[in-house]
């Protein structure tokens, strides 16, 4: 067996060599069991995170303009209402039969509230509500109605379409999937 004495490295160069090795190992790691385990754990974590907790959404449609524009991107944050109630003006996602298609709406009333629209102005419990997020407004008229127990009343920010062409109303609380980020 032949062996040669190790080439001496000047002590000043040592940190640079260690650093370059670390960088090399970070970007080009050797394919070993540890790396495979890391990849699997990272993949599984990403799958769970982006499938069940922070669901990416591409916004299609104009019902939430100008707050959310057609083609923009956002996330549904599922844990939003785990520890707190839904508040007025919250933007929420409403599920249909699953989570791949959801409606994005703003909460304007909760269970027990009475709401109505007069010439496009929202009245909650008989008082006019200021809605600075509404930029387009048509003269909607909707008679007063009370939100049922375990329901919330949702509507889009874009009120510039006729009322008959806008989907809004009270939905069951269990249809609310979560809040929206950003």
């Amino acid at each position: 067996m032949l062996s040669s004495p190790p080439t001496p490295v000047p002590s000043k160069q040592l940190p640079r060599i260690v650093l370059s090795r670390k960088i090399h190992n970070f970007f080009l790691p050797s394919l070993d069991a540890r790396l495979v385990r890391r990849i699997l754990i990272t993949g599984l974590s990403c799958y769970l995170l982006f499938s069940y907790i922070l669901i990416p959404m591409r916004i299609q449609g104009h019902s939430m303009e100008p707050t959310y524009r057609d083609g923009s991107f956002a996330f549904c944050w599922r844990p939003s209402y785990l520890f707190r109630d839904i508040h007025y003006s919250d933007i929420v996602t409403v599920r249909l039969s699953g989570k791949s298609t959801m409606l994005l709406k703003r909460v304007i009333a909760v269970a027990g509230d009475t709401i109505e629209f007069r010439e496009g102005i929202l009245f909650r419990n008989g008082k006019e509500v200021s809605e600075p997020y509404v930029k387009y407004r048509m003269p909607w008229n909707l008679e007063a109605r009370t939100v049922a127990t375990d329901h919330v009343y949702v509507v889009g920010d874009n009120r510039g379409t006729p009322m008959s062409r806008h989907r809004f109303g009270q939905v069951k609380r269990n249809r609310i999937m979560g809040g929206v980020i950003p």
């Binding site: 299609q60 449609g61 057609d70 409403v94 249909l96 039969s97 699953g98 989570k99 791949s100 298609t101 409606l103 909707l142 109605r145 949702v154 989907r167 809004f168 109303g169 009270q170 939905v171 069951k172 249809r175």
Partner: protein, 161 residues
């Protein structure tokens, strides 16, 4: 080592059988996809092709077929001719519209009946304006003479003004 290889082969064979064998659920899902394809329109669709698609869509449904859509005051049975006429009319009203079903789940209360919950998504253009819409559907499929046919469509009205 041999045992491991045999176990892997058995698992692969089981997976292949599971994937390739046409179960009832797979057949119904495939019918839903076909229905979506037949309902979809392109602006370049020829009249004959449209008629063929409409006829194929009709054949996926039972005769009569129940349709319930409260918002439009529709709640009755449609015979095959009526149903295909309505589909044709809808296709003319919505040129260049793609229909697709998502988040489909089903259960089988009886051997020859499936209760399906799904979301129908429509994307297309009306007068150069892009539009998107989605409706939740409760559909009943029944096995009639060995074929799974859709016998009832109900639009789930989960938002009440």
């Amino acid at each position: 080592m041999k045992k491991t290889v045999i176990a892997v082969l058995i698992l692969a064979a089981a997976a292949a059988i599971f994937v390739l064998l046409p179960g009832d659920e797979k057949k119904i899902r495939s019918n839903l996809d076909s229905l979506a394809g037949y309902l979809s329109t392109t602006e370049t669709d020829k009249s004959l092709a449209t008629l063929q698609k409409v006829s194929k869509a009709g054949k996926l449904c039972s005769d009569p077929c129940a349709v319930q859509f409260q918002s439009f005051n529709i709640d009755r049975n449609f015979d095959r001719k009526e149903l295909t006429d309505h589909i044709l009319m809808m296709k003319k009203m919505l040129p260049g519209t793609r229909f697709s079903f998502h988040d489909t789940s089903m259960n089988f209360p009886k051997e020859d009946r499936a209760d399906i919950t799904t979301t129908l998504r429509l994307t297309g253009k009306i007068e150069s304006d892009q539009f998107t819409d989605a409706y939740e559907f409760a559909i009943i499929a029944e096995k009639i003479e060995g074929k799974w046919l859709f016998s009832s469509f109900t639009v789930v009205e989960f938002m009440e003004q």
